[in-house]
Every structure is written in C-alpha cells, then in structure tokens.
Symmetry: C2
Subunit: 428 residues, 2 copies
C-alpha cells in the first residue's frame, strides 16, 4: 500500500509527495511495539494493551442517591404522614434490620437501602417528628432516589478496551475496577542526532563563527511532550566515518531523528551513509512549506526521519510526520493534533503547489470562533515566533493565500492547550 502512496503526487510537479501521501507511507510501516505491565501510578499517557473488565457490580447493591429516609412507597402514598425511625444507615454500613409497614430508616447518600424499603424521601421533604419519628411532608414517586445495583458497572463487563489512551478519567475507571497494575504498549526508544560543522553544542563555549544547536533540544522537547525521554546522541560533523558511527548507534533505537544541519553537504553524506548502513529511504521531499526537504526511511523495525536543519522547518515536520509515527508506535489511535476552526485577522500569502503551515496565536473571537494572528514573521528562521505559536494554521496546497476574515483550520500545539481567559460569553 505504501508503495502506491509513496509515488509522487500527480499534483506535485517537482516530484515530492503530498503531506497526506507522506503520512500514509510512514504509517503503513508503523505498528505498535510490544507490551509491558506497569503500576497504575505510572499509567497516565500510556495506551492499554488489554481489555479491562469490571471486577464487581457497582453500586454493589441498591443505594440511596440522596440524604433522606428509606421508606415503603405504600406508606407515603397519602403523605403528609409520620413514620417511625428504626435505623440510621451511612455509606459503608450494612443495614441491620428490614423495614416493616409504618417504619423508615434515616439514610445517607451512597448508603445501602435496607430490605423492605423501595423508595427514598429527600431530607428536605421531611420534618423531625415526635419521639423517634419523622414527618414525611409530600408523597414521592415509588423507587425515587435509589441507585440500582450494577447501574454503573456490572461484574464481568468490559469497561475499557485495548487501544484506549490512558487519560485521568481512564485512571479513575482503572482504580474503580481495582486494576493496580495495567498492561500497556511499550514506549518507543527515540534517538536524536544533529549534524553540521557549523553547530555549537549547548554546553560548548561560545564561538562567533558557529551557530547554536537548536534542533537537538527542540526535538527533545517535542518527544518529551509525548511522554517519551529521548536519547541525545550529539552532533555529527561533516565526516563520513564520524557520521556513520553516530547513525549506526541511532539505528539501535525504534525511532531515529537526524536533523540535517544547514548545509546540503551534510545531506550529501547522510544519504549514502544511511544507504551503506542498510536503510531503505521511502521519500526525500514533501510538498509543504516550511519543511520541503524531509526524508523518511526504514531499517528493519527502525524508523528514520531526516529533518531539515532549519529549526522551524524541523519542528513543523516533526508535527506532521514524527508525531503521528511516535503515537502509532506507542499504540495510540488518535494520532493527529486536534484542529479547530479560526478566523484569520490578517491576510496570508501562499504559493500554490505546497501546503503551508502558518504559525499563529489564538485569541477569543466574537462569534465564539478564535481569531488567528501570525506569530512573528513567517520566516522559517523565526524560532521565537514558533515558540509563541498556539497552533499551525493550514493553507491548503491549492490555495493562493487566505484573506483577513477567512476561516481556516488550526492544528493545536502544546502552547495552545490553555488560554488566558475563561469563557467570556457565559459564566464559565
């Protein structure tokens, strides 16, 4: 299937794949890794590799949904009436006595309904009565305010399926069925390599002739944001032997990210060196901006991405290709960033033929649709702008650009997951 999708798009004269074709090629070669058992306390963000069944009925028996009095419906049909209180039942208690005609039991929310009772009257519909009795002020519907046994969970039923991403609510459900240990998909082991003679390592002394290694750390953080701690291999100089050593080490991981340095000379080394190490490259260009020179290959089960040396392009390529691959390896089924519609507050130019990803910040808009504003210049050298961006606004490849007021889709980045204001339009 990927052979087909890896063929150049008819829509792209220069022979690169479309973003969709490139993704299909990558995901066609990506499958979840093995599984492992971990404690529930470590499970957040992982993916279930097992179906999970309820270990009990919940509630374990009929319980009261309110604080009030457990009664026999027949006794209160003609309320107001007075009933004798024979018990006081709290959550966790086991009722001692069964209710008989004319009797009731004081009962708390979550407390088990005693035998003989079929209805709960809320405390606000009652009034303390003479010695040990309570006045029921109004009749209530039979069976009112009782939560039935197994209403929430029935023992043996599947409550969570394999492939479920573990979010806070999922952890709650796992605790509810007493799943202290869970079987999840193993996380991918990721290696990051930068290359280029001009690069200065983070902890190397300042050298005016060189430029800092941005990509290693931007990629590290993008991987960390997926809950995976990557291995940083370092910086390979433009030397075939050194590069080969680094790449060979990187091929021992599930996923290898090579960012190209800024010189084409480096790519000249990377391509033959990867080939010599037995890596099959599946594409070398994608019709997108920024990020055109992005390449993908495989060696056995190892996925290899060659990302542009330009930091913004590298981050955008990670978002479109590496992120879904990383999530697929982790067993996730939701592989793509949430997108939302936004109204452009300014025009953006675009040359047709390549899909364009515009870094934007989002602000609450009048109609409830967010206003999207360009984050800094759209120069692919503008890292500060990329750092500020809440999302990537998509200009389709056929488009000649968008006008102010146009509505477009925005891929929501980490930065965009939270906003400064609560809902203005209403009370939350």
């Amino acid at each position: 299937m990927h052979e087909k999708t890896a063929k150049p798009s008819s829509a792209s004269p220069s022979g690169g794949l479309s973003v969709r074709e490139a993704r299909a090629c990558i995901l066609g070669k990506t499958a979840p890794l093995g599984t492992e058992d971990i404690a529930l306390e470590r499970a957040l963000g992982r993916v279930l590799a097992m179906d999970v069944r309820a270990n009990r009925d919940l509630p374990p028996r009929d319980i009261s949904a309110m604080d009030g009095y457990a009664v026999q419906a027949a006794d209160i049909a003609n309320a107001p009436t007075t009933l004798q209180i024979i018990d006081d039942i709290r959550a966790g208690d086991v009722p001692r006595v069964a209710l008989r005609h004319g009797q009731c039991a004081r009962i708390m929310t979550g407390a088990p309904v005693p035998d003989g009772a079929d209805t709960v009257v809320r405390v606000e519909d009652t009034r303390p009565g003479p010695d040990g009795a309570v006045d029921i002020l109004v009749p209530v519907q039979a069976a009112a305010d009782i939560r039935r046994r197994a209403e929430t969970l029935r023992q043996g039923d599947i409550v969570l399926r394999a492939g479920t991403g573990i979010a806070p609510g999922t952890v709650g459900v796992l605790a509810t069925v007493k799943q202290a240990t869970v079987t999840v998909y193993r996380q991918p082991r990721v290696a990051i390599l930068s290359s280029g003679n001009e690069l200065e390592a983070l902890r190397e002394p300042f050298d005016p002739a060189r430029i800092p290694d941005t990509n290693t750390y931007a990629l590290m953080a993008q991987v960390q944001a997926q809950g995976v701690e990557p291995e940083i291999l370092g910086i390979a100089r433009d030397d075939p032997a050194e590069l080969s050593g680094f790449l060979e080490r990187g091929l021992g991981y599930d996923l290898l990210l090579v960012s190209g340095g800024t010189s084409v000379g480096v790519h000249d080394h990377v391509r033959p060196t990867l080939a010599a190490l037995g890596v099959t490259m599946h594409f070398w260009r994608v019709e997108m901006r920024p990020g055109h020179p992005v390449a993908f290959g495989t060696s056995g089960k190892t996925l290899v991405f060659c990302l542009p040396g330009n930091p913004v392009s590298s981050m955008v390529c990670f978002e479109q290709f590496v992120l879904p691959a990383l999530r697929a390896l982790s067993g996730q089924r939701h592989l793509f960033r949430r997108t939302l519609p936004a109204r452009l507050s300014q025009a953006v130019k675009s040359r047709p033929g390549r899909i364009e990803f515009v870094r934007v910040t989002l602000a609450p808009g009048a109609s409830g649709i967010h206003e999207a504003r360009c984050a800094g210049s759209q120069s692919s050298a503008d890292m500060p702008g990329m750092a500020r961006a809440d999302g990537l606004l998509i200009v389709p490849s056929a488009s000649k650009g968008l006008a102010a007021g146009d509505i477009a889709r925005v891929q929501l980045l980490e930065t965009g997951a939270y906003q400064a204001e609560a809902e203005p339009g209403d009370d939350a």
Copy 2:
C-alpha cells in the same frame, strides 16, 4: 477583592457562588511560589521566572539563504555572464578571500557571505562554466538570498519574558541562546486525601460491602497531567482524630485536595476539623452541575479544596477550580482549558440556575465545526463516560437546555488533544 467575589451571587437563590465568582475567590488568594534553577533538559512544561536575552547575533554574520554562488551584483547586471570561482564556502567556514570584480564563490545554505559579495545567485540559475568558472544565466536582484546578520536575534535583546510557559519551541529558543540552565517557578507540592468508611483502597482485598477509592487516582492523574507528582495520603475513616491527623499532614503542602467520601457524615467531620486546624473556609457551594458541594479554604499559604465524593463531580470540580489554581501556583498565565465551539448532535436538558458541564466526545463536523455527542449517560456516577469524554460542554446557568444543532463551547480535556483523523477537508 475576593471578599467581594466570595459573596453569594445575586443570581443564585440557594446562596452558592457562581463558577466565575468561585474562581475569582480562589485566584485572588493564589500567587506563584518561589523559583529554582533547573537544566534545560527538565524545563518542558515549567514556567520561566527570568527574562532571557540573546547571547549573540543570529545569524552571526551575513549568510546565504540558498545553495548557489556569492557574487557582486554589478557583475551580473547584464547576465548571462561568466564568473571565476575563487572559493568554496560551507556552513561553519570562515571565508579566506574577499571577492573582486569578475569573481564569485560557491556557497552553501547557511554559509557566511565573503567580503566583497553582496548577492547570492541560486544554483538553479547557473550552469558549470569553462575551467573553474560558472555561467550565471539570469540577472538577480542585488542583495538577493542573503540573510542579514542579527536578522533572527540581536545580542542583548530579550527573546523570552518571565512568565512564559515552556513549550517545545521555547526549549528551542533557550537552546539557541545557550541557556543550559533556566530559572523557573517551583512546582506546587500537592497532597491528596480521600475520606469515607465505605472506601476500599486500591491494593486492599475486595470487600462486597464497600466501594473502590476512585477519587484518589483520578485526582492523582489530573495533577500528574499538569506535570506535578502528588503525594497520596490515603483514606481517612469517619473518625475525627484520624481525620485530623491526615488533614494536619496535608496542610504541610502547597495544595491539599480532600475528596469527601459519599456520606454527608464525613463532611460533618471535615468542616469542624479543618476549622480546628485553623483553616479559613471561603465558600462551601458553587452553583454548578455536577459538583455543587465543592468547598475552598486557606491556611497560611496552603490552599485546601474539599471535592465531592462522587468521582465525576470531583473531576469536574478539579477542572474548574483546582486546575487554574495549580497552574497559577506554577507561575502559568494561561490558566484555563482551551475551549472550542462545537455543534450538538443531540439535545441536552438543563435546569436554569446552575451552569452545567456535559461530558462530550468530539467528531469532525461538516462545516469544520466539531460535532459534540454526549459521552455515556450524564449521570454523575458514569465514570466510564467521563473517561471517554474529549471535553466538557458548557450549558450556561440561565439556559433551560440546548437543542440538537445548537453551537456551544467545549473545554478541551487531555483526551481531546488528539484526534483519529487528519484534516479531511484538505491535504493535511
């Protein structure tokens, strides 16, 4: 200010605060904690407590934006023409010779432009010439394809401000300015306590008369999702002395979460015990559904939240109140979940007077606006439904309910951050 906002809303007859009033009360008593220095490798998700300045000009000098030839514009004004190649400059090189009339230098992307050159001609606009020369095929604009020194960063300029949440792009910028160690706000220390005789601990043996402790782990995961590892104190039984011991320990943290167990009897203990320990309570009820019985207090700098025993209610209250407080303590300025508009695919009922949070799943909609569908029943006992929810749909307190097709705001939860499909409407 909080005194004012803590006063019951005129809009709420039963005397609870509105969600907005409750948030204002909480945030009026919440300030960032101290600061600490950490390695860049650990900085993702933290908040800068320092302004960060550029440590260099970037690019450090004029560099080429393309692979091609560095020339003197005057020499190619009447191209086609032929120039002598006197140098071959790659990224990281320091040019040895200055260009003179009739000369050019082969230059790679990111490589420094030699003295004497003022323009770059792209390789595709050239052709190899006779012995050591190149044919420039077309005239290009003077200064074309040169990135100017300090175009991206100017030494000494502030590139990131204190209060910036550290996302992957931010990590990239910090690496760019060689900030291997960063000063960030300290993360809050959080304690979680459950209470109720009916609760069975995660690793306790199964007891048919009791119910599992869901809240401790759902809350744990909600805190973990904010990058904070909470301390789990355990389960306090309905015994004042035991409860007092647990609460006293919890007050040693920055933030204490007490979930109430399901019996009012417990609250009866919690309230006086907190008072006896010197905690000032600021509110005890909020006009919301689920989650009405949520309380907030302070003791010195410690924030105390009493959350409903019902797991879904507890999680929703965390989202509305604890999450913004936790983020404010961490120094974040974006305190609230991203919201997006969604079209309801079914009607939802609501009783006016309380804002309602409806658990929904999101699916791509025709118009680009997501379709929102209720996740399971809206019973506040339906944890599996809460676990599936992509977001919380807001039904304003004045509303009598929403109809199918209505558009409402949805707070996006962790589950909702990713989606199963890439953009259908276009190529990404």
